[in-house]
Subunit: 263 residues, 2 copies
DNA sequence: AAGTGGTCTAGACCACGGC
DNA sequence: CCGTGGTCTAGACCACTTC
């Protein structure tokens, strides 16, 4: 409930009546701050296509009038939207819907990458187990040396062609659900985020080149010695906890990593 | 000159005298906004080591008092510093100096990378020329197909060991200075930024794995067929102009690319 | 309880952009 | 010229943390 508060010192004039007496009657809908309501109103108009990139957004003064708030509050709403890249402000001209941003260096699972290319991810499970002697990987995950780790080894397919071998490790005690999910059809990311209540946030990756040993060569149907891109990623949750460790071997020519780096 | 302005409506009380009459006497130093002065004052105290990470920064009310500004102005100063990651705000507790941020995915030249590891970069120039028939690379740089391109091929050394082969291309007409700089001792980045007045901003990179052909094997003193990490980068200026195209072949085990990706 | 940041008011003057 | 965003005032009440 937002009752009327905010009566500055100089409101000791009789005009304080302008706060109409809807206090108990209309539900003022949650304790959402006014500036956030304004933001949401604008976001909705953008999402619905009513406001397109380049279109002008109502000015500070207009928003203040429409929503019945002070200039500073309307201003705060627009300033934050600009900081988040939703709108662009041009001094003396106005506030405009920003062109949609392409996200760089975005952390995606294989399933999501394929989906973003309009393809369906398929996998073949090579092995699925619980291991206890992976000291180094346990250490990377911030677990004791002999922690029980879930381990999943999958061959990634594009069409009928094997393009990658991925091995994942996670704490078997914290995420038992992963052990029994149908991982040949399901995304590891989606199980974690939907079923385990983990919000993934970022991954630190080490990238180098190696070549296929006999086992990899067999699994990927390649000659032994073929160069492979190796990506080791340690994936962190939004609470900065190391959650999954993945090592992937990607067939050259079938997989190029694209990143953008900033100065 | 900032004279006293900002006399809101309710300042018709006698208290407006509190603006002490220094108007013409002390030089108010530039037209820098008050909130920026506050920010600079705090930044200086952090840079000089007087304020260390975790230390508390003066509160909004304190800053307002010290600098003789209103609460909203002091608040604005801190809010922006927090947005830039300089300080962290904790509701009910205070504002604190943020721990120094490690920069991820930072675009660095080889010379700079070595410097950041406390090492000195060395290179051996393999060839330096101007070419006119690299249609594909010219296209990447946004130039006509037969544009004159500067081309520089260098072997990168760590100690006495060859760790990488890098080939750079740029517009020979726009940056003639690059052709005659002592590139065995100098950074391409520093020549561009210092001598050519170009501010580099970001690079789009394509990363995959390949293996050494006979020529690379000879130049890097490796067996033919050794897996190499290939990084092709198109480097853009702050005006979003493609400026340099670099292809690098990095010896595995001697070079691991580290990046962070966000969800 | 004291102090902090978070939200908000009802205005002010200025610098800038486009007509 | 008029409308826009940028800076700023002198306060207010609230939610939160710390003691």
């Amino acid at each position: 409930m937002v009752f009327r508060k905010n009566l500055p010192a100089h409101a000791d004039t009789p005009e304080r009546l302008h706060r109409n007496g809807h206090s108990a009657t209309m539900a003022n809908r949650s304790d959402e701050p006014a500036y956030r309501k304004i933001q949401n109103a604008i976001r909705r108009r953008i999402d619905s296509g009513q406001l397109k990139p380049g279109n002008v957004v109502p000015s500070e003064r207009e928003l203040a009038r429409i929503h019945g708030v002070s200039l500073m509050t309307a201003r705060h709403a627009l300033t934050e939207l600009a900081r988040d890249g939703i709108v662009e402000r041009r001094h003396g001209a106005g506030t405009f819907v920003a062109p949609p941003k392409v996200q760089f260096n975005k952390l995606l699972g294989y399933t999501e990458q394929m989906a973003s290319l309009g393809l369906t991810a398929r996998s073949r499970i090579v092995s699925s187990s619980v291991v206890t002697r992976e000291h180094e990987i346990a250490a990377r995950l911030g677990l004791p040396p002999t922690a029980r780790l879930g381990r999943l080894e999958r061959v990634r397919l594009a069409g009928d062609e094997a393009v990658a071998l991925e091995v994942c490790y996670w704490s078997a005690d914290e995420y038992p659900a992963l052990q029994h999910a149908p991982m040949d059809r399901t995304s590891l990311f989606s199980v974690l985020e939907r079923d385990c209540g983990v919000q993934l946030a970022y991954a630190d990756e080490e990238i180098d080149a190696t070549d296929a040993d006999q086992r990899m060569a067999d699994l990927l149907s390649l000659p032994k010695g073929t160069p492979l891109l190796r990506i080791r990623q340690l994936i962190f949750s939004s609470t900065a906890r190391a959650t999954v460790f993945v090592t992937g071997f990607y067939r050259s020519g079938r997989h190029t990593l694209r990143i953008r780096r900033f100065r």
